[in-house]
Amino acid sequence: MANVLFIEPDKGLGGTYVQAFEHAGHTVHMAATAEEAIMTVDEQRPDVVVMELQLPGHNGVAFLHEFRSYNDWSDIPVIINTYITPAKMDQARAALKTDLGVTVIMYKPRTTLQRLISTVNEQVRA
């Protein structure tokens, strides 16, 4: 099973993700900010990162620029699970995938736990 890092500023929702993923057999780490996430990646070396783009302090894009600047972490898949609607994400979608190595972009309100778990499983297997 995988070592999953969630970057999720909403602690209530984050708690739900932790319970669901642990129930599915994964090990889960939680970070609420980009700064916290960098430290957690350094300490835990997750197999996959699931993140919100709208973060307090440094936003998700700033995190991704820093995250992808480290060679050791360049192969860690990143799944964006965000409140930003698909219509608004349209312009940024290509840049996030091509320049920042984002593998999957999902709209958080419509992404069920089961779908998120299966997406993480697919990314870990890939």
Binding site: D10, L13, T16, Y83, A87, P109, T112, Q114
Partner: protein, 237 residues
Amino acid sequence: MQYTGATHSEEALRLLASVAEQLKFPLTSILRKAELGTLTGDLSLVDANAIQMHANAALTLVDSYLLGLQLLSSQQSLPLEPVSVSSLLVDVAHELQAMAKQYDMKLELHIGGKYEPVMAHRAGLRAALVSLGYALVESYPHAGGHIRLAVHRTPHGIVTGVYGDYQQINAAQWRTALDLKGKAAQPFTALTGNAGAGLFVAEAILQAMETRLRVSKYQKQKGLATTLQPSQQLHFV
């Protein structure tokens, strides 16, 4: 509180948009909590389905409202594309199915016949039809009713909408409701016991696409529908 002048209206709209954006947070939490409850066995599937259906309906209304605002405030003309109404209606029916089941209603899909694609904003048209569908399912006066998603052709274009046994729906009442929109707590007394927001959100999205929601009739059933123009480009091909 009374708003006067454009600045206050814009401020009020922005505030309302922020409220709508923020409403997504608790609604998403409710949806995921309910799902977690079924995964861990803490919540029965029946209860979880009911919670998820209501939260999904609210989320759809919020999403559609925000999309309508985005489309209406867009400085550029909307990117219209050829859209197959039949396949879009299949997608809409899939979205409405859970709610129809919860309200003990039968959802029918009438997409027989061959229709050329229409020029539309795909996400906008989908959101408008889903909003309309949710609003009409919610307002249906009795359980066991039939609601119909349909597409048909008229001399004016391709008509698509939601139909049912709405005895009291007529063009005059719809016009009155549009006049009362945002002013009365229950602008469409003949149809809904609430503010009818889903109907007006659907209307706003369609207006952004330069079309309207109108009272329509299909196979002896009444409903609300919109008329779309076939894609000329593909017509020639």
